[in-house]
C-alpha cells in the first residue's frame, strides 16, 4: 500500500497536478507574507531590545523568550477569538481567509524572530559598543548599523521563521478553516488527507514540504558560510 501511495505521489508531482500546485502556492504565499511582516516587526524590535536600556527591558525579553514557545493551537484559538464576529477584529471579516492565516503566523513567528534577532544584535553590539560610543553614534543610528552588520545572521533568522511558518498546522487550521481551494495549505491538507486515508496526495505534499525545509536550511547554512568567507 505504501509503495502504491508513493508511486501515485510521484506521478502527482511529475504531472504538476493543478490542485497540488494551488495548495503549494497558497502555502508559500501565506507563509512568505507572514515571514515578511514578522521580519518587519521582529527584527527592529530585537534591535531595540538589544541596544536600548529602559525599565522593564528584562521583563520584556523574558516575555519574548517565553513567546517563542507559544503552542500554535493556542495562537490559533486567540486569533480566532479576535477575528470571530463577536471579537474586537470581527468587523474586518477575515476569519477563514488567507489573511487570517497570515495574521496567526505573524503572531507565532514574530516573537521567535525578535528573540533570535535580539541575541544576534546584542552579540554584535558587545563587539561594536565602544567604537560606536567613541564615534558618538546615536542609539537609533547604532541599532540600524548593528542590524545591517548582522544582516547575514539575521537572514538565517528570517529563514528559520519561514521554515517554522511553513511547517505550522494548528493555527492555520483553526483560523483558516481548511476550506478546499481557499485556505487549504500543505500541512492542513496532509493532516486531512491522512485522516481520510488518501495517502498519495499527503505523501506528495509531504515530499514537497520536506524538500522546502531542507532547501531553506541548506540556503541558510550556505549564506552564513559565504558571508564569513567574503566579509569576515
Amino acid at each position: 500500500m505504501l509503495v502504491q501511495a508513493l508511486t501515485e505521489a510521484i506521478s502527482l508531482l511529475l504531472s504538476g497536478d493543478g490542485k497540488l500546485v494551488k495548495i503549494i502556492l497558497l502555502s508559500l504565499g501565506v507563509s512568505g507574507l507572514a515571514t515578511l511582516l514578522a521580519a518587519i516587526i521582529g527584527v527592529p524590535l530585537g534591535g531595540v531590545l538589544a541596544v536600548a536600556r529602559f525599565p522593564g527591558r528584562r521583563f520584556l525579553i523574558a516575555c519574548l523568550n517565553a513567546a517563542m514557545g507559544l503552542p500554535p493551537v493556542v495562537v490559533g484559538l486567540i486569533v480566532y477569538l479576535l477575528l470571530s464576529r463577536a471579537g474586537p477584529l470581527g468587523p474586518l471579516g477575515i476569519l477563514f481567509t488567507p489573511s487570517a492565516m497570515v495574521l496567526a503566523q505573524v503572531v507565532l513567528i514574530a516573537p521567535i524572530m525578535a528573540a533570535l534577532a535580539r541575541q544576534i544584535i546584542e552579540d554584535t553590539h558587545a563587539e561594536y559598543r565602544e567604537q560606536l560610543d567613541a564615534l558618538r553614534i546615536s542609539r537609533w543610528a547604532a541599532t540600524a548599523t548593528l542590524i545591517w552588520d548582522a544582516r547575514f545572521s539575521l537572514v538565517t533568522v528570517v529563514l528559520a521563521g519561514f521554515g517554522r511558518a511553513m511547517a505550522e498546522v494548528g493555527a492555520v487550521m483553526i483560523v483558516g478553516g481548511n476550506i478546499d481551494g481557499v485556505t487549504r495549505t500543505m500541512t492542513t491538507t496532509i493532516a486531512l488527507e491522512t485522516s481520510k486515508g488518501d495517502l498519495p496526495l499527503a505523501l506528495a505534499l509531504g515530499t514537497v514540504l520536506l524538500a522546502l525545509v531542507l532547501a531553506i536550511n541548506a540556503l541558510a547554512a550556505w549564506l552564513k558560510e559565504w558571508a564569513v568567507a567574503r566579509y569576515g
Binding site: E127, E130, Q131, D133, A134, R136, S138, W148, D149
Partner: protein, 239 residues
Amino acid sequence: MAKLPVLRLENLTVGSRRAGMPSILANASLSFAADDCTVILGPNGAGKSVLLRAACGLLPITQGSVAWGPANRDGLPPFALVFQKPVMLRRSALDNIVYPLLHGTIHRAEAYARATQALAQVGLAHLAARPARVLSGGEQQRVALARALVTQPQVLMLDEPTASLDPASAALVEDIVRQAHASGVAVIWTTHRLGEAKRLAKRVLFVDGGQVVEDSPASRFFTQPATLVARAYLQGESA
C-alpha cells in the same frame, strides 16, 4: 593670549564611591594643549586606558569633570579614539572610513571624497573596496586610524595601537600619527613600547595604581624620572 586647552580634566575619578574601595583612576587633573604629543606610560592595570575611556565618555565618571575645547565643525566629536584591537564594521574599508562622516552634517559626496583621501593618506587606497574584516591586523589598524583622522579631530587618542602589530606595521602607524600631529592634531597615546614613546613624546604622563604620579617633558622623563616607580619601569624592573 594663551591658547585654550583642547582637553581639560578636573579631579577625574573613576571607580567605587564607597569608602575604603580603591578607585581605578583617582583625581586626575590634566590639561592638554593643541600642540601636545603626550605619551601615557605605566604598568598593566595602572589606569592608562581608563583615563582615555573616561575622557571620551566611555566610562562613567565617579567625580570630576571633562571639558573639551571648541566644538568641532560638521557635527562630529572633537576627539577620535583608536583602540588596540581595531573594530571593523562589516563593510568595505572605504565604507568604514566614511561611516562617522555620514552621521555628521557633511554632504554625502564630500564625505566620500574625504574618506577616499584619508584612505590614501594611510597608504591603502588600493584596498578601498576590500571588506575591512578580511584585511591584516596592520591594515585594519591603519583603516581605524583613517576613520579617526577623517573626522578632523582636535585630539587623537590611541590606546596601545601598536601592541598587536609587527614592527613594520607599528612603524607605519607611528608615521601616520606623527604626520597627523605635524598637521596640528593633539595626540594622547598609551603604550608599553619605550622606543616608540621616546620617538613620539613631547610630554610623558606616568600612571601607577590609578594615580598620575609623574607629568614631565619627555626629555626629562627619560633621563631623570622623578619617581622610583617610573625609574624601575624604565629599567624594566617591577617596583
